[in-house]
Structures are given as structure tokens and as C-alpha cells.
Symmetry: C2
Subunit: 597 residues, 2 copies
């Protein structure tokens, strides 16, 4: 069975030494996040993830969820007990509003915890993960009464949440949405329609399920401007606030999928279900994007999470499996062969994954911190800058870290040779589970379009210009630092490619939007590589300073520098290929008629 | 359910117009392969693949194989009837020796047919596929008596074959092999040991299964120099040549795998089984490599095959699914949205897959033709040159086309969005099935080492120098041809990167072999890209000539030129990143101690 150990030390290095979380101790939430508390919370989260959730990962995949004839859904054996542990630990409320029972710690911390839990058992972690998205939507768009009705039990975990967007004919293009909402005299709505691909749509872990549902109010405009968001509880609450009448929503079937078998993906049928408008009528997309942005960061975290556990298990096998001899001479003379970690091509895989994971973790936590600062920073300009970063990086993190997460899971599986293809070793599950992260919450092609078509130009390109300036300032600041040269030179080259690509887009995409579409996926990956390289630059600087000062764990810090160099030498050079593809434009790509395919 | 149509027209274009098969009509085998015959055979093979084998692909995946308590194994429903059709059509003997009942047509033709059958149902095609490997080994290394005993029934398909190499502790490193062979007074051997991952090791499709088994004769030297190859039939033949006594070989279990569920992957237990030495004692590796080279080309074909069917289904969905509007203006005004094939990022996926598939098909058929010529060409120098090409390209085709095949299946799945993750659409099966091709018959890292560590330097680099010279001559020949410039310039640039990488290896890998290992996978892919670009150059030239002459299908030929340009603009630029990684050397990669992982 696969192993897992939460990367607590690496996370603490990023939070304490790279991000300097203590600097923000004057801000709400951060004041409680002292280094001691952070270490204790992460340690305990890692323990629960490894000891309680992880042992159910493989069995949950094998068993899957079962839908019964009455429409109820049973999760795999052990999930209910594990979920009880999750609730008892208060893990669902770590960064939720204390007003409604949360612990009010920074979201930066819950992002880190989310990684551990998604590594340990992604399908399990999705149940509370979707609840978190629903909590965010209600917190930001609900009335005070709605917040009091729903949030405390959702934060507690007694109730869970879902997002209901997709319909059979309508995924990316929400303008095609057909689910209807008919106003009732009491101010509620009757919701009717069918939603598909609803993760955690029905299950046996919680007393009530709070569905957030996109629908069109009778007479609303066509397209995306006529969509509203509704709260549709599985059990409508009674006057006492407790679940009362069973609502007209039911699970019609669950999908047979490639992976995440332990999470029920439901067809949800709404048949005159009672719903309550949340936020303004016809402005449902705005509210939905609150959930989506939360969810997209969460999906990016899943990409990292699977990559991390796949890496850990590839390392175990690479040290254990003996096969062949090192090209540079026998390493394990007492054995009939050397452990395969001596072979450069195995090292290439391990170092590639590791170099992406560690920078990916830094980018996620950095961005989660910006998310916190966008709400609580004292200075309005700082809040805005943080929000700009958050908006810019969300599609990059979602798209790039899930693509890399999948590729990394595949590479880690490759280390096992034939054993990687066999279910009992668990490596193929990581590949199957990681695959969904590239698809849901907006397929990665949509993330790329969000970046290129929306985020780049937003506010006159303010966010992207600030990012370029920050990276340039970092390179400039350490220009005369000999030891930093291997990093800053590479970052500078990568970001030159990125700026050239950005310039190309500005010059070529206005007149011909297909040029933007044709460039989008490459641009997103180019952007991601530069962002990751910048993270490595910051981490390398901290590592060098600590080594010079003689503080910190020497082996840990030296490994950071080696891994940073590896990233610059072996991963970052891909920027040039992305730039070449982008500059090729759309003409050849679009030249054939559809009939020619 | 997924669709499939064999790419007969594209295959004929390559065979007739690019390879000019008719030029070889003076050679044995080729004389029967007239254009009419070739077209008829391919048409019928495509029909059988699409109509008989393909309908069982998804059901076979769902049902899988079943091992019963008595050790027998049942294939999925319908497989026996389909196999009967395969036998009746004589498909197993297309290119086998007429002396033993084969039809003696060129292997080039059976490679094309193998693609169709692997697209239609890879798990099914593996049963005869492994038989073909065993036939090759017996044909080349068996005694005349052994050939007469086994070949006719294997070529007929009445009996099937297997390859037994891997043991639990020994995959790549065959020197660790433990299966023992004890000589008997009658000249036979008693074989004892356990083999794992034996595809088609036990099943209900054939009357007898002829296992080819690597084992160590008592007292033989340690390591790879003490390995011999044995024929171990499931039923030992009686004096009449018919299956008689049940041999001491049995299937202990079948593996639960990620994919190819319809092919039984067996643990085979040999318990004093009767075996017959094939080829010389202690020279088993040589005989095994006959099977392996055949098998490796076959696995490369599987990479192409899955990529092709995944592409075809991505196209169907991209034309059918409506979602969003074209960035360059509404295309389907009569519908509520445009078909997603209008979106550049969808086109990027389709064109990428297509541009790799069509060149991959050319490279496979080109190489299969060299395989034929290495045996039947009249001139010894031509035979040697053909054999050089074959040896050089085998690891490239296996490694690169299976890596690309998997990536392409993943991209094609992405076109389906959430539906791609759901089993009923069939796209996720292609991903799961394609994955094994990167692993078995030598994981792709081993192919890369075979290329860099063995094939490059063989005979003073004769094969690689001939390849470089051929590509250079092609670019030079069309240098002044304006219309060919978009192709030849790109090929020239790609091959310059390849030559620079080769030079780097020569200068840096002798003294420090880890530099070769660290470069190997990138070098293999760089090599593959250049080989594919050369195929595109040849195909573009033919297309241009035919367009100028007004012969051929105009739309088909114009699509070839567009696809060739796309490859040059969007796929080939990756060579630069590979070169950068190769030139980085092994130092950083190998810097960390194993404990640091």
C-alpha cells in the first residue's frame, strides 16, 4: 500500500521563512497564527491525514460509492468514521468566520492543510472541499439571515455543500443553462431541471446537503445575464432551523468514472424543489465565481497534492528496488544490483517532480496569503494589489499545477515499471485521480482563456505589469550577487520569453482574437513556469541567507539550492518552446475546414 | 460508444506514394503486393477491425478476463468468435513464411494491419500480437524440426504464443533471472520458476499456448551470459504433433490492472515443466531480442493506434458538441452555440494529435519496410543500411510514439470535458490502455538508454551518421524549392539541434557515463521529433508534386500540407528545449544523496 507523510517541514519553511507570516501578526486572523500554533496545527493535520484519511484511499477507490434504489448513496467503508474525525477536529472551520463558529485562522493555513488531506485521500477531501466553496458563496453573498441559517452547521461539518452548474448540454457555456426557477408568493422559488457531474451531490456523511444551484428565473434574459444562484437544501429547514421537509431534489444516478471513485458524482434531478435566491436576481454568475475561484485554487492544490504523494512513493520504490548497476560504478556492492535511484533517468523523474512540487507549494501558499491580504490588509492599495495577484494566479495555479500534477503522477508511476500498472501498488490510482483536476472547475483550456482573454487586460493590464515588475525587481536586486546568478539569470531569461509572448499577444490578438485562443494554453504554461521560477528564486535566496548565517537545517537548505538549480536547468527551458508556438499564430491551426477532420 | 474507421487512404498514400512500394516488386514477397492487392487487403483488414473487433473493445474492458479456481482463464464475451474470424481471415499469417503456411506478404503490410487492429481493440490484438513475436523467434532461432512442429499451427492461429521474461525481482535487469532449467537425458529440460506480467499467458482462445521462456541452465554462468531460451508448450506435443500431455505450467493469478483488462496478464508458475532449448545454450538473450525488436515495433504501433482512435473520437465530439461562440464571429447561426471545433484551443489539440499520428504512421511503415529490405534486398549494402535504420529507429518508435500516443489520448479525452472522465464515452479507456505501451517491452527510459548507450555508437555510429546524411541530403536537394522552404528550414533547424546534442554526448558522455543517462530521454524525444519532421518533409514533397500534377485527392493533399506546416510550427520547436536540457548535464541531477529524497 502506498505511504504518505505530510510535508510539514517544507510547508513551515515557506510559511515562516519565505512568506514571513509573522510580519502580518497585526492583522485579523494572523494574530492567532503564531509560529507555534501554525506548527502544531500543521503537525496535527498531517497526522490525521496520514493516519486516518490515507488508509482509506485505496480501499475507497476499489469499493467506490453505491447508489441504492431509493436514491440514497453510500460512501465506502470507513468514510463515515473518518468524516466524524474530520468534524471533531474542527478541520472544516479552520479559516471560517468565528462569528459563525469558525476558528478564523488565515486561509493560507487551510490551503496547506487542504494539500495534506488531498494527498492522503483526494476523493474524501472533496466532501469538505465542496462545502468550503459553498460556505464562501453564502458568506459573501448571503443575507445575514441566510448566514445564520446555514453557516454554523456547514462550518461544523454537520451539513455539507455542493455546486450545481453543469447540465447535460451546458458546461463551459453557462448561457445555455435551462434549469428554471419560478417565484412563489412566499419569496421562495420552485427549481426544476437536471444538473450533472455534481460532486458529493448525495452521500451518507452529513445530516443535510446544501446545494448551490444556478437557474434561470421565469422571464429572465437569455444567456449568462439571466442566471441566478439559489440555495436548495436537501432538507428544507423548519422554523427551528433544523432539517425538516425532504426537498424535491434527488440523485438520479452516479457516474462510473476513471477515478475519484470514492466521491459520488451525481446526476441531480430538481423537481419543483424549494430554493432560496442568494445574492441578486440575474447576477448569479458573480456569486458563482466566488465559489469557483475558491474551488479553482482548491483544484490547483489537488494537482500538487497528488503529485506529492506520487513523488513520495516513487522515492520509496527507487530506493528499494534493485535493478542494474550505476553507470558510474557499483554503488551497493553487497547487493546483486544497485537501487534504481542511482540511475540518472530515475533521478530525472524524481528531481523534475520535486522541483515542480516545492515551487508549486510556494506559489499556492503565496497566492493564498494574497487572498487573505486582499481582505484584511490595512492599506487599500495593498488589498488591491493582493487581489490582483490572486485573480491573475488563480487560472495559472489551476491550469498549470493540475497539468503538471498529472504529468508528475504519470512519471512517478513510470518509476515502478510494470508494477506501476498494477492496481495493488496504488500508483495508477494517483494517475486516474489526478486526471479529473485538469477537467473540472473549468477545463484547463478555459483557465488559459480566462488568463489570456480576461485577466491579462483587466484594469489596463495592472496585475500582469505588477507581476513583471516584481520579478524584474527581484532579479535586479540580486544582480551583483554571484551566488544568486544561476537563479536570477534563468528567471530573467524565462521572464523575457514571457514578456515577449505578452507583447506578441498585444500586437496580434486585438485584430484577430483567434491568435489569443491559439496561444492561450502555451501562454498559461509559460506564465506558470516563470511564476514557479520566481518562487524558486525567493526560496533560493532564503536558503542561501540561512546557510550563510548558519541557521536552519543544512541538508534541507542545500537540497533546496540543488532543486532550484535543477528547475532552472531542466524545467524552465521549456519557455522558449512555448514562445515559439505562441508566435506561430493561429493561421495554420485554423486553416482546415471542419470537414477536413 | 466510440467510433472507428481504419485510415486506409492515409496508409495507401504512404505505401504507394511516399514509400513507392511498387519499386520493390522484384523482391520476394513484394511481387505479390501489387497496389490492387494491398488496397484490397487493407480495406478488408480495416473492415474486420471496425466491424468485428471494435464493438468488443468497451465491453471487453468492462468485463475483463476471469481466472477460475482450476487455473483456466476466460476472455470476455465475444472474444472467441472474434478470434475465430481472425483465424479464418488468415490475418495471423499475412507476412509469415509460406513454407509454414503463411502468405509471405511484406511485414510492411502486417504493420499497417496491426495498427488497425490495435486501434479497434488493443487488448484483443495483443493475443495474436504476442504470437507473432514467438513466431519470429522460432523462425529465426528454431531448428527445422521445431519450425515444423510449431510454426504451422501458430501461423494458423490454432495455437498462440507468449514471451516469458520478467520475474518478481527482475525486469530490466535480466541478469538477476532465477528460473532454472535442468537438462534431462532425452535432451529436453525441466523448467522451474515464476514469471510475472505474462500477457496472454493463459486464455480460452487457442488449443495450445507456446510459451517462450528465459531460464538459466544448471551450472550456467551468472548474469546475462548464462541465460537460455526455451519452448515450453502448455500441452507437450505427442508423437503425432498434436497437443498431448498437460505440461507443468499454470497461471497462478491474473493481475488487476489500470487498463487492457481484456488481455489476461498472468503470473505463470513453472513447476518441472518440460522445455526445449531454442537456439544456443546461454545465448538466450540474442534470441529474445528477436522477439523484443518485433514486439517493440508492435508496441510503437499500439501508441499510434490508440492515438488514432482517440483522435477520431475527439473529432466527432468537436464537430457535434456546441458550446460558446467562435472568437472570430458566429459560425452556426442556426444553433444556440457553435460546435467546439471552431475554438482554437480545440483545434490545437486536434492538429497536434493528427500531425503526430500521420508522421508516426509514415515512420512506422518506413521502418517496417526497412525491416523487410534488411532481409530481402538484393544488395548486401542495402540490406545492411536497412538493418541499421531498423535498429536505430526501433527504440525511437517504441519510446517516442508510445509517449506521444499516451499524451495524445489524454488530449483527446480533454476535448470531451467532464464526459471524457466518464466511462461510457470510452475516452478514458484509451488513456488507460495507452499507458501500458510506455511501460512494457522495456520501459521508455530503457528505450532511451538503448538508443544513447548502444545504438548511437554501434559500428562507429554508422547508422546515425547515415540518418543525418539522409536528412541533410533531403534538405539540400530541395533547398532552392521555394514551396518546400517552410518544411526544409524547420527540418534543418531541428536536425541541427539533434546533431549538436549528439556532439555534446560524444564529448561529455565517454568520461562520465551519467551524462548519457541524464540526457537519454530528452535525446530520444529530440531524435523522434527530427525523424517525424523528416517524414513530414517527404510527405509534403509528394503532396506538392501531386498537386502540381493535378493527380490525387486535392483536399487530402492540401490537408497534408497544412498539417505538415502545423508540425513544423507547433510540435518541432520542442527540439530546442530538449537540447537545453541535454546540455545541462548530469551534475545537478545527481548532486543529492539518496537520503535527501
Amino acid at each position: 500500500m502506498p505511504v504518505y507523510q505530510a510535508p510539514v517541514a517544507d510547508t513551515l519553511f515557506i510559511l515562516n521563512d519565505v512568506l514571513g507570516l509573522e510580519r502580518y501578526s497585526n492583522l485579523p486572523g494572523f494574530s492567532d497564527a503564531t509560529p507555534d500554533i501554525v506548527e502544531a496545527v500543521l503537525g496535527e493535520a498531517g497526522r490525521v491525514a496520514a493516519e486516518v484519511f490515507h488508509p482509506l484511499n485505496q480501499s475507497g477507490d476499489h469499493e467506490g460509492c453505491t447508489r441504492h434504489a431509493d436514491g440514497t448513496v453510500t460512501t465506502p467503508e470507513g468514510f463515515d468514521a473518518a468524516y466524524a474525525t474530520f468534524r471533531e477536529g474542527g478541520w472544516g472551520g479552520i479559516s471560517a468566520d468565528p462569528e459563525y463558529g469558525g476558528q478564523g485562522l488565515p486561509h493560507t493555513l487551510s490551503a496547506a492543510i487542504n494539500e495534506f488531506m488531498s494527498s492522503a485521500n483526494m476523493a474524501f477531501a472533496m466532501y469538505p472541499g465542496l462545502t468550503a466553496g459553498a460556505i464562501a458563496a453564502i458568506s459573501q453573498h448571503g443575507t445575514e439571515a441566510q448566514k445564520r441559517q446555514y453557516l454554523p452547521n456547514m462550518i461544523d461539518g454537520l451539513w455539507t455543500g455542493t455546486m450545481n452548474l453543469t447540465e447535460p448540454h451546458c458546461g463551459t457555456d453557462l448561457g445555455l443553462l435551462r434549469t428554471r426557477a419560478t417565484p412563489q408568493p412566499d419569496g421562495s422559488y420552485r427549481i426544476s431541471g437536471q444538473k450533472i457531474f455534481i460532486s458529493a451531490g448525495e452521500h451518507d456523511l452529513s445530516e443535510n446537503i446544501i446545494h448551490l444551484v444556478l437557474a434561470r428565473i421565469d422571464g429572465a434574459p437569455e444567456g449568462v445575464k439571466g442566471i441566478s444562484l439559489f440555495i436548495v437544501p436537501k432538507f428544507v429547514l423548519g422554523a427551528d432551523g433544523r432539517p425538516d421537509q425532504r426537498n424535491g431534489v434527488s440523485c438520479g444516478s452516479i457516474e462510473e468514472k476513471m477515478g475519484i471513485h470514492a466521491n459520488a458524482t451525481c446526476v441531480m434531478n430538481y423537481d419543483d424543489a424549494t430554493g432560496f435566491l442568494i445574492g441578486e436576481a440575474d447576477k448569479g454568475l458573480r456569486a458563482m465565481f466566488t465559489m469557483m475561484n475558491e474551488a479553482r485554487l482548491g483544484v490547483g492544490i489537488q494537482g500538487l497534492a497528488i503529485s506529492e504523494i506520487a513523488y513520495q512513493n516513487a522515492v520509496v520504490y527507487a530506493k528499494d528496488r534493485i535493478q542494474g548497476r550505476s553507470l558510474s560504478g557499483i554503488k551497493a556492492a553487497d547487493k546483486r544490483a544497485d537501487p534504481i535511484i542511482v540511475h540518472p533517468d530515475i533521478r530525472r523523474i524524481l528531481m523534475t517532480i520535486r522541483s515542480v512540487n516545492e515551487a508549486g507549494r510556494a506559489l499556492i501558499l503565496w497566492t493564498a496569503l494574497k487572498g487573505d491580504l486582499s481582505h484584511v490588509a490595512e492599506d487599500a492599495a495593498e488589498r488591491q494589489a493582493a487581489d490582483d495577484w490572486m485573480g491573475l494566479m488563480t487560472p495559472v495555479i489551476k491550469g498549470v499545477l493540475t497539468d503538471k500534477g498529472f504529468d508528475n503522477a504519470v512519471m512517478a508511476q513510470q518509476v515502478y515499471g510494470g508494477h506501476g500498472y498494477v492496481r495493488e501498488w496504488g500508483m495508477e490510482q494517483f494517475v486516474r485521480d489526478a486526471r479529473i483536476a485538469q477537467i473540472y472547475e473549468g477545463a484547463n483550456g478555459i483557465q488559459a482563456l480566462d488568463l489570456v482573454g480576461r485577466k491579462l487586460a483587466l484594469n489596463g493590464g495592472r496585475a500582469v505589469q505588477a507581476f513583471f515588475a516584481e520579478v524584474a525587481a527581484f532579479c535586479e536586486e540580486h544582480r551583483s550577487d554571484e551566488a544568486m546568478a544561476p537563479y536570477t539569470k534563468a528567471i530573467h531569461k524565462g521572464s523575457k520569453d514571457l514578456q515577449q509572448a505578452t507583447m506578441w499577444l498585444m500586437q496580434n490578438a486585438m485584430m484577430k482574437p483567434d491568435n489569443a485562443g491559439a496561444a492561450s494554453t502555451d501562454y498559461m504554461h509559460l506564465f506558470g513556469l516563470v511564476a514557479l521560477s520566481y518562487m524558486w528564486g525567493r526560496m533560493a535566496k532564503v536558503a542561501q541567507d540561512q546557510l550563510a548565517a548558519g541557521t536552519g537545517d543544512k541538508a534541507f537548505l542545500e537540497a533546496k539550492l540543488v532543486t532550484a538549480r535543477f528547475f532552472m536547468e531542466r524545467v524552465l527551458p521549456e519557455t522558449a518552446a512555448h514562445l515559439a508556438r505562441i508566435s506561430a499564430g493561429a493561421d495554420t491551426m485554423m486553416a482546415l475546414e471542419a470537414e477536413a477532420f
